[in-house]
Each structure stands twice: as structure tokens, then as C-alpha cells.
């Protein structure tokens, strides 16, 4: 089984550790697959504007630099650790009202997608790029400041676009995903070194981006584990 974490932040957004060091933390710990998913924050709300002001977001201007840096690290990680690093972003639509807020992981993305676009456009564009679409922390978190209910409250409308839902995020488990029998994965939402020890995904497939995306979409051979030291 491949030990995977598909939700990781670096100093490109609000993570506290630089990309290279993050890759090393996971490589040194024996992970097989990780995805770097820094925030791309909306610019149409007061909270979103704050993120732009404090540079807690990847912007269209530095998106290519961000992707190039991940590509470089991906090569290094493969050579040194045999670890696959997938590029991605976390579309972060942040509003004061958590019912309006949503976070969406887009994995194996090729081009920039803005968080200020409407949901339908984001999903369509991600599909066109063959990115894997994951709904993040669909229910309340122990850290209430980032509650995002919009996708779950509108699941009938959006479920057709979403390849998987986070059934666990760091220390929180969302049993509603299980009750609805939605495809699932579990991630750390890594921002600090101690977040390494959290919920993770195990995949029974080969260590290739295509196989991993297919495994998650079909949701066969997927398990979750609480990674502890």
C-alpha cells in the first residue's frame, strides 16, 4: 500500500515551512506519494483580500514559479526517496459565513484556476485539465476558524463534479462522508511539522500519477490510517 498525503501547504501560502524542507520531512519519514496544495484564495471577500494582502495565496502571477518549484522538487524527491510529488492547489473560497465557504483540492493541475470564479466554472476547468477534485473538510473542524460547509450543504448539486471527499482532515473525522458512501481520502492539511502525525491515505495501486487518480476516483483499494510515531 502507498502511504499518501494529498493536502500539504508550504510558505507559498500559509504553511510555515519551505517547499524543499516539506518535501524532505515527508521523504525522510518514508512516504510514497504527496501532493503540494497551496492555497489559491478568492479575491471577492474581505477575508480573501486579507490573504492576498499578506501573500497567503498563490496568485496567477507566481503560479508558474510555484509549479516549476514543485516540478524541481518532484524530480529531486523521486531520485532521492523514490517519493512521488504531485502538484496541486487548494481553491479557497473564504467568507465570514462558513455556509458560503469551501475549500477544494485540485491535484495534478496544469494551468491556473482562480478561486474567484464560480463553482461550476472551477469544476469544469479542473475537469478539462484532468485534475483530481477533492472536497476538503466538508464539515466542522476542531479549528473552527476554517469551517467550510458550502460543498456539503450543496452536495446534491456538486457531488457529480467531486472525485473524492476528505473523510478525515488532520485530527478530525467526518462520518457523514461514510454515511453517504462518497469516495474518500484522508489528509493532514499540513502547515507545521507536527501535522505530519495525522490522518493519511493508503492506496493499493502503482506509484504513478495516472494510477493514483484512477484509484481514488474508483475508490477501490483505498484505506485511511492515523499516522503516528
Amino acid at each position: 500500500m502507498l502511504l499518501c498525503d494529498f493536502h500539504i501547504h508550504t510558505t507559498y501560502s500559509d504553511g510555515s515551512i519551505e517547499l524543499q524542507k516539506v518535501v524532505d520531512i515527508y521523504g525522510q519519514a518514508g512516504f510514497d506519494v504527496i501532493a503540494i496544495t497551496d492555497h489559491v484564495v478568492n479575491n471577492d471577500s474581505s477575508i480573501g483580500k486579507l490573504a492576498h494582502r499578506f501573500k497567503y495565496t498563490v496568485k496567477e502571477e507566481n503560479f508558474q514559479e510555484y509549479m516549476d518549484a514543485i516540478e524541481f522538487e518532484s524530480t529531486r524527491a523521486w531520485d532521492k526517496y523514490g517519493m512521488l510529488v504531485i502538484s496541486g492547489i487548494e481553491i479557497s473560497k473564504n467568507y465570514i459565513n462558513p455556509d458560503l465557504s469551501a475549500h477544494i483540492l485540485l491535484l495534478d493541475l496544469k494551468g491556473f484556476i482562480s478561486a474567484s470564479w464560480d463553482y461550476e466554472r472551477i469544476f469544469r476547468e479542473a475537469r478539462e485539465q484532468d485534475a483530481l477534485i477533492v472536497a476538503c473538510h466538508p464539515q466542522g473542524l476542531s479549528d473552527m476558524s476554517k469551517d467550510t460547509y458550502h460543498l456539503w450543504n450543496n452536495r446534491e448539486k456538486y457531488a457529480k463534479y467531486i472525485d473524492a471527499w476528505e473523510i478525515a482532515n488532520r485530527d478530525d473525522v467526518f462520518n457523514v462522508v461514510s454515511l453517504k458512501k462518497y469516495p474518500y481520502i484522508a489528509n493532514s492539511d499540513f502547515h507545521k511539522a507536527r501535522h505530519l502525525y495525522s490522518w493519511k491515505t493508503l492506496l493499493n495501486c502503482s506509484k504513478e500519477v495516472g494510477a493514483i487518480k484512477q484509484c481514488i476516483r474508483h475508490n477501490k483499494g483505498v484505506a485511511i490510517t492515523l499516522f503516528r510515531n
Partner: protein
């Protein structure tokens, strides 16, 4: 002047004097001054007997992959590496297997065997590895040690002398991305490095650092083997002591090894040094007091705490802290650590924390190590904590409080 101030000032100056001696011993000690300690080869050792490296693994250390990998790059003709684990599901097991797969041309064994021969989990991990070790020399090397290419070649050279029974190494702390890791590295590079060099240089005491111990199998077996230390916490100290008593010399090698500490939390730092403090209290007895009175920063802060802030108490604390930090910086540069100058500002904070930790062993004789709770007795002899009665109640209360604050 108040007598209390004079006492604290005198103790602070005494501590600074003791630290100056440690700095001198680090500076002049052969363990530091020879080129080999910085990884540069001196002359080729005249003999290269095959060595079995025993690496007991439990859990993930910072930099584990690189640490283990560094043992696959040894410039040495014949050696084997045995990664020994108690549990297949240990996250370190996956890393060990990755290393084995990456270096298929090396003689690497990942050995998983549950052993409960004694109470010391590290010794329990070493016993199965020792059983399958092929070579006449064994090197016990902790998982958090990173070695340079000439490590084996350097340390074996001391074994040319048949009178030498054990070779250990000085250790320096490297890295430090978090406050806890910086505190740990500061302590390794000041107190630990200074004390080990001082004991070796001036007192000629057999000083063993358990992170790296090279022995002959025959010598270890002559002093009772691992079975003789399976129920003690300080197995390194006891092996060194018994080796010394058996007439064999315990040598501090000229090769310095690295301990990479990157992302420690402050709690981990406090837990480790509380455990080490308890260990030294049980081993050293009354000599343990010397650690307190040779902590000049803590002594100067006691003056501040007892007499209140005034020009002279603040000046004493600031002056002593500055001198101690300058000493830390000097040792750091001497042994080639890569710590930023700003990190040394945390030195006085570390010394004050260590000062408070000093008192804990006087109040508690239990340790939690690798998930197990023990009562620690004389010479660090371990006994399991009772599951019933007052002990059990006490720990239930403590655990409940901890869970509340988690």
C-alpha cells in the same frame, strides 16, 4: 551587600569558571582538535576488521532517512548494517526497507523481532540484532546519528590496541528549525560536549555516549553481554563501567558524530532532559549537585528571583548570560555547528529551564521512555510501575490533567 547576593554571585562566577574549564577541554581535547573530527581523513588505519553495525529503531527521528543512508556510504571494506525493530508496523520499518532497497549492493538486514527479555526497550531491540550479527566487532549506533564516510575507519583505529574495550564518540547537535530543536542543540553543544570533554580530559573518567559504542563481541560477552544491562536505563554507562572494571580501556574517539535535531517541540526537550536528569541523579548521587552549581545562568537568575530586580541583580544576570552565551558560541564555532548566531540568544533560556528541570529528579523517580513507564532506582535499575494502588491512582490523575490540557 546582602549575603544572599554574594552567595549567588559567587556561585555564578564559580559556574562560569567551571564552564571556562569545559571550553578549554573542548578546545584542547584531542577529540576536537584533530582533523578527523571534522570528517577529514588523517592516515589510513592499519587494519580493517569486519564490523556489524546494530541500529535499534523505534519511531521516526528527524532526518531518519539521511541518518540511515549515511551508514551505507561508509568508506570501509567489510561491514554489515542491521536495522532492528520490535514491530513491523513501526514507521521506521518502512524507512529501513527503503534504504535496503536503495542500496541492494550493501549488506543490510532489516530484522523485526519482538523481544521482551528486559525492561530497557533499546536493549530489547539490540538483543535479536546481536544474535544475528556476523562480525567480531559490533557498533551500536542510535537511529538519530548521522555519520561521515570515514566514521568506521576512524573509530576502528582505536581498537588496534587490544587494551581498549570500548570506543565512544563525542556528539554535536546540528540543525534546529524549531525552538525545541535549537534548545536541544545548544544543550548538546555546550553542557554535553563540555562535560564529556572535561571528564575525558581532566578526570580521565570513562565516559560513554550511548549513541555510538564500538566493542568486540568477546569483550561484551566477558562483561555479561546485553543480558547484564537489560533492566537498566543507562545501559551505555553500565557497559562502560563494567568494561573499565574488567581492565579494558574506554576511549573517546577522535571522530565527532552528528545528531540532527530539526523539529523538536519544547515538551520533547523538557521530557528528554528530565529523564536524563533522573538518570544522572540515580547514578551520580550527591555528585548530581555539581550540575546545579555549575549552571551560572540559573544561579544568577535565582539572585534576580529571590532579591528582586535591581541594578546589581539585573547586571549580574545579564553579564553572566552574556559570558555563557559567548562560551556557547565559541564551542559552537570550534566544533563546526551550523547554528545561526541569533540561536545563541536562547542559551540563557535553555539554562534556566535546565535549572528548573534539575529539581524534578529529587521529587520523582519515574520515567516514561518509548511509551513505557518505569520506576528508576540505583544505577538506573528499572522496575515497572505498579498497575494498582497509589501509583496507579497518581498516574490516572496526571494523565487526566494532561488529557484536559491536550
Amino acid at each position: 551587600m546582602e549575603p544572599l547576593f554574594l552567595i549567588f554571585a559567587a556561585l555564578s562566577l564559580f559556574g562560569l569558571f567551571a564552564y571556562a574549564l569545559q571550553i578549554w577541554s573542548v578546545r584542547s581535547c584531542r577529540t576536537i582538535s584533530t582533523p578527523s573530527c571534522l570528517g577529514k581523513p588523517i592516515s589510513a588505519p592499519p587494519f580493517f576488521p569486519p564490523i556489524s553495525i546494530l541500529k535499534p529503531l523505534k519511531g521516526l527521528d528527524d532526518n531518519l532517512f539521511d541518518n540511515l543512508e549515511s551508514f551505507c556510504h561508509q568508506d570501509y571494506p567489510e561491514y554489515e548494517v542491521i536495522f532492528s525493530l520490535q514491530n513491523e508496523n513501526d514507521p521506521a520499518c518502512k524507512v529501513a526497507r527503503m534504504i535496503k532497497n536503495k542500496y541492494r549492493d550493501r549488506d543490510i538486514t532489516v530484522h523485526v523481532e519482538r523481544c521482551s527479555a528486559g525492561l530497557n526497550p533499546k536493549v530489547n531491540n539490540l538483543i535479536p540484532a546481536y544474535r544475528i550479527a556476523k562480525h567480531p566487532y559490533i557498533l551500536i549506533s542510535d537511529s538519530n546519528v548521522m555519520a561521515r564516510k570515514n566514521y568506521l575507519a576512524d573509530i576502528i583505529s582505536d581498537m588496534r590496541d587490544p587494551g581498549v574495550g570500548l570506543v565512544s564518540n563525542p556528539i554535536r547537535g546540528i540543525g534546529g528549525e524549531s525552538v525545541g530543536a535549537v534548545l536541544e542543540n545548544l544543550h548538546l553543544n555546550s553542557f554535553v560536549m563540555g562535560s564529556v570533554s572535561f571528564l575525558d580530559r581532566f578526570l580521565k573518567m570513562p565516559c560513554v555516549v550511548g549513541k555510538s559504542m564500538l566493542m568486540r563481541k568477546s569483550d561484551l560477552e566477558a562483561i555479561g553481554g546485553f543480558a547484564g544491562v537489560k533492566d537498566v536505563l543507562a545501559e551505555d554507562y553500565l557497559i562502560g563501567k563494567r568494561m573499565h572494571e574488567s581492565g579494558k580501556r574506554v576511549v573517546l574517539s577522535s571522530h565527532m558524530i552528528d545528531n540532527i535535531n530539526e523539529y523538536w517541540g519544547i515538551r520533547k526537550f523538557l521530557n528528554r532532559h528530565t529523564r536524563w536528569g533522573k538518570l544522572r541523579w540515580q547514578i551520580g548521587g550527591i555528585k548530581y549537585i555539581s550540575e546545579l552549581i555549575s549552571n551560572p545562568v540559573f544561579m544568577s537568575f535565582l539572585a534576580l528571583a529571590f532579591l528582586g530586580p535591581s541594578l546589581r541583580t539585573v547586571a549580574l544576570s545579564a553579564g553572566v548570560s552574556f559570558c555563557k552565551s559567548a562560551g556557547d558560541f565559541f564551542i559552537g564555532r570550534k566544533i563546526g555547528t551550523n547554528m545561526a548566531i541569533s540561536s545563541y540568544v536562547l542559551g540563557p533560556l535553555k539554562d534556566v529551564l535546565i535549572g528548573f528541570i534539575w529539581f524534578v529528579p529529587l521529587l520523582s523517580n519515574t520515567v516514561v521512555w518509548r511509551g513505557n513507564r518505569y520506576i528508576i532506582g540505583k544505577d538506573s535499575m528499572l522496575s515497572p510501575c505498579p498497575e494498582t494502588g497509589l501509583w496507579s491512582f497518581r498516574y490516572k490523575v496526571v494523565e487526566t490533567i494532561k488529557a484536559r490540557f491536550a
